[in-house]
């Protein structure tokens, strides 16, 4: 997030797109509801499903899956054609406006409506509400990113904030809600194929010299394969070994049959986890790690707040904290890894990562710190880009809409979109073994609207066979008027009805994020 969670309550307008906030980030969802109920904020919600926040919205619009980009460009078009931009901000703080203007002319509301299903007047109303607000926040999640145009979708939202100057100030900004507890931190620490820790350039000589002092000469500083590319490498025999810590690609990745063949093809698959997950079952060696309740460390939340995780329990049986396992392995391979505690590892991190430079366990004992926090006296940073962008000028990007590869056809007439539900988390490894949560949602289901269910003769709680080009599953039917006709929804937590068997290999060309949100499917009742 460019801004902080608490600032949402002070936003005049909140634009939620591609985030089912009350389900996935309930406490943030509550903050948005408070902004509406207690402070009179105006809420805009765009989503193929009538999510709970829609009840609080000044404007709610359903949108066809896969058409976000045409929709956002339509909003930009209205802002430019009705001259609602922040001219002063564009002039002083941005570059590339003319290129954006030239690219956006064709996204007139009348043209965008037929693509997105959003009425012309609704597009205009949203544009006016957002642009005219003193403070407006954009909130999004994977409904924006898990598309073949994921990167462009984010670029278009950034354009929206730049065009209206809704960034770099309190209660504004472009605010992605990170889904997993420490996905922000994992990225910050450089668990990515194309950057060093702290997003430092791999080919920066200064960074290489700095890292070489602590990592030794000759460390690997090239760009590596992304997760999807590693799976592909395993499939085609290029990759021989994978070491997987606390991840479960056998449920979370697209095209699960393909993933299975890929992992089975490896000479060595090591999985470190707390349970024998779907992925661990395929491993040659399984290492028992510890849960977050059994170790010390830090997590970084979606608003860049680094906070302490404290050990409350002794790890189960002979399992070990994951950092201890990694140290043990490093030592076995003849590498020095003499860390007495995570606090000592943090000292090394802060020496290498400038935005964590001022973060110590001693300071975190009192409360969390939001990066950038470059030195020991720095109070942390509530919102980014204050008084100017980190890169200098904010750059507009040109993001042309491309249709999803997945369109309804005679054979596959419905569009499936996937996601998560309140009581479960990711592949369910933990929540399906937490009895009080599993009791609420013990099995998977497919949401479908009453009209479509009637047409197909599907009954509430009956079974339906869902097939895509690459696979099929059987799953329970849940009829609900909260979903757009022609669209069905399945959560991905459930291994026995694993929706990712249906999702193909299509992905965003820039960051390789899979197209989980749009998949053409066929539905048949099971008797």
């Amino acid at each position: 997030m460019t801004n902080s969670i608490n600032e949402l309550e002070d936003s005049e307008v909140i634009f939620v797109i591609g985030s089912n906030t009350t389900e996935q980030h309930p406490i943030i969802g509550m903050r948005i509801m408070n902004a509406v109920k207690k402070k009179g904020a105006k809420l805009i919600v765009a989503d193929p499903r009538k999510i709970p926040l829609a009840e609080y919205a000044t404007v709610y619009t359903p949108i066809k899956p896969g058409t976000n980009l045409a929709f956002i460009n339509g909003i930009l078009n209205v802002i430019i054609s009705e001259n609602l931009m922040n001219q002063e901000f564009i002039k002083s703080s941005t570059e590339g406006f003319e290129e954006l203007r030239a690219s956006i002319g064709k996204y007139m509301p009348e043209a965008v409506t037929s693509i997105t299903g959003v009425p012309e007047d609704t597009i205009r109303e949203i544009a006016r509400l957002y642009a005219k607000a003193k403070t407006a926040s954009i909130v999004y999640a994977m409904g924006i990113t898990q598309h073949v145009t994921g990167t462009k979708n984010v670029g278009a939202l950034a354009n929206l904030a730049l065009l209206t100057g809704q960034v770099g100030r309190e209660a504004t900004g472009v605010n992605p809600l990170r889904g997993q507890n420490n996905v922000q931190g994992a990225c910050d620490m450089g668990a990515l194929p194309d950057v060093l820790p702290g997003y430092q350039d791999l080919d920066s000589q200064a960074a290489q010299e700095k890292f070489a002092k602590l990592w030794g000469e000759g460390f690997a500083w090239g760009e590596g394969k992304s997760l999807g590319e590693m799976i592909e490498g395993a499939y085609n025999g290029e990759m021989k070994a994978l070491f997987i810590m606390a991840e479960n690609p056998m449920l979370s990745d697209p095209n699960l049959e393909h993933v299975k063949k890929a992992l089975e093809n490896l000479e060595l698959l090591v999985v470190q986890d707390i349970f024998l997950s779907e992925t661990a079952k395929l491993a040659h060696v399984v290492l028992p790690g510890a849960s977050f309740m059994e170790k010390d460390g830090t997590f970084t939340n979606t608003e860049r707040r680094v906070q302490r995780v404290r050990k409350a329990l002794v790890p189960m049986a002979e399992s070990k904290a994951d950092w201890e396992i990694l140290c043990g392995l490093m030592k076995t391979m003849g590498y020095s890894a003499e860390y007495s505690s995570p606090a000592e590892i943090m000292e090394e991190i802060r020496a290498l990562v400038p935005s964590y430079g001022g973060i110590t366990y001693q300071r975190l004992e009192k409360e969390g710190l939001q990066w950038p926090c470059p030195d020991i006296n720095h109070p942390g940073t509530k919102f980014l880009h204050k008084g100017g962008f980190v890169r200098g000028l904010g750059r507009f990007t040109v993001n042309e809409y491309v249709e999803s590869t997945q369109q309804p056809s005679e054979e596959y007439p419905f569009i499936l979109t996937t996601g998560r539900i309140h009581h479960h988390y990711h592949t369910g490894t933990m929540t399906r073994r937490a009895w009080a949560l599993d009791r609420e949602h013990p099995e998977g289901y497919m949401e479908i609207c009453p009209q479509d269910a009637k047409k197909l003769g599907l009954r509430q709680e009956g079974m339906v066979k869902v097939s895509s080009e690459i696979g099929e599953i059987s799953i329970k039917v849940k009829i609900t008027d909260k979903i757009t006709p022609g669209v069905v929804f399945i959560p991905f937590h459930f291994g026995e009805a694993a929706v990712n068997k249906l999702i193909g290999q299509h992905h965003d060309p820039v960051v390789q994020i899979p197209e989980y949100k749009v998949c053409a499917v066929k539905l048949e009742g099971v008797r």
Partner: protein
């Protein structure tokens, strides 16, 4: 009963609460009223999402696959040395780029940092990623 303040291990909101511990068992959760984000509130996962830690299916010892396809429990030393020698052999024969690691958004910053160091500095491979996109 001990109360241990910690950060929730589920979504990216970063709520804090106290884990109430008795005899190495979580017996309850107490919200933290003065936390800047959660302000004394928690969602159902924050309140109820912890019993998995004591689940009977938890992995208790390292496992290695046997020639008949089944797993058997082994010591840490055996597991480490098998992984270490196998990785060294693959790197020697096929190069570092034939190995890769997937780190985790569930693990701590310190663990993610170590995993990156393990990949780039010990294995000398560029192939490191995690499930940020999933």
């Amino acid at each position: 009963m001990r109360k241990v303040l910690t950060t929730c291990g589920y979504c990216g909101t970063g709520c804090n609460f106290y884990l109430n511990v008795e005899d190495n068992e979580i017996v309850g959760v107490t919200p933290k009223n003065d936390h800047p984000i959660s302000k004394g509130k928690l969602c159902v996962k924050g309140w109820q999402g912890h019993s998995f830690v004591h689940h009977k299916d938890r992995l208790k010892k390292p496992l290695m696959r046997q020639s008949d396809g089944s797993f058997s429990e082994v010591s840490w030393e055996t597991a480490y040395s098998y992984i270490g020698s196998k990785l060294k052999k693959i790197i020697k024969e096929k190069g570092s780029e034939a190995v890769g690691v997937l780190s985790s958004a569930r693990c701590t910053n310190e663990e993610n940092y170590l995993m990156v160091k393990f990949a780039r500095s010990v294995l000398r491979t560029n192939n490191i990623d995690h499930c940020a996109r999933l």
